[in-house]
Amino acid sequence: MKRSLCLFTAIAAMPFTIAWGQAAAPPSEPSVKNVELTVYLLSGVQTPAADDVPQDLAATVKNLHSLFLYKGYKLAESFILRGRSTGGPGAQYASTQGILPGSGLHYQFDYQRVRISNEKPYMVHIDGLSINLTGTPVYGTDGKQRGSNTVASIRTDLDLSDGQKVVVGKSSINQTGDALILVVVPKVIE
């Protein structure tokens, strides 16, 4: 009975609340914000090995050790990708690529769109985040590149809080059962 009374009161008050909100809040314009993604590309290895990650990721790797049975975690690459959320439709695609030192694998990191909430603490939503690791390019007899072999890839949508370390991982990317792990840290710049 008490719960029903609360529900009734809430429903009855809704039109007043909406009307007050419309009167008080100015018409919101899509705000343009920049977002800086710091991305760490790690590998979780099955063979015994000491961790080789920067100090910023020590706590993250400690959590990974408590959840997974990988013997060690190594940093393969890190980079910063800066993009913009226009708050409306339009191209907000951003990408970067490079070569992983040591392995010689080529990587491409991109996302389709990033959206940032208007209020603090900012929430960052990334659509179509993707990383693709490819091997040595294959060339035809005419010398033109015919393609390349994909070694591993990750593609997903993500919701992140500003400054939060979000880990995205995938197991068994190769025969030895290693894992591909991305650590994404967003920073909203006003």
Binding site: K165, V166, V168, G169
Partner: protein, 147 residues
């Protein structure tokens, strides 16, 4: 390059320079390319999986099939060896009457609607995403599991 051209080349397992340029621009084709690659990886990983052994017990009964087959074959051979009487009578060849042919105009061609090519985008199957909370609220772990 159109999306259809790109899909056809991707379906053949090739990635040319033109395709890569197209993939840079086209979101759908890039998603298709990723899906195809993920499928290829998944299939490759299945190569090493051992199939479970299934014990199948066949019904045990009298095996009559060989004897029936042998009997049928013998009867067929016997039927071939029996000489058949030649009862065919000579038939006069038919007389072909001359037919006056008249050239009639062909009916106009029927216009058929051109079939629109269907896109080859497969239904996207998102990997299973497991969210793991850690003691540190600033660290969230997502693990992707693909079939």
């Amino acid at each position: 390059m159109t999306c259809q051209d790109c899909e056809l080349i991707l379906a053949q397992g090739q990635v040319t320079g033109e395709v890569e340029e197209h993939l840079q621009r086209c979101v759908e084709c890039r998603a298709l390319s990723h899906d195809l690659l993920a499928n290829a990886l998944a299939l490759e990983s299945l190569r090493s999986e051992e199939l479970p052994r299934v014990a199948v017990q066949l019904p045990r009964g009298r095996r009559v099939f060989p004897w029936v087959a042998v009997a049928a074959a013998a009867m067929f051979a016997f039927a071939l060896l029996i000489p058949r009487p030649q009862t065919l009578k000579p038939v006069a060849s038919p007389v072909i009457a001359p037919v006056a042919s008249r050239a009639e105009p062909l009916p106009p061609p029927i216009e058929t609607a051109k079939a629109q090519p269907t896109r080859l985008h497969p239904q996207k199957v998102e990997p299973l995403k497991i969210k793991m909370l850690t003691p540190d609220p600033d660290i969230v772990i997502y693990w992707l599991i693909e079939d």
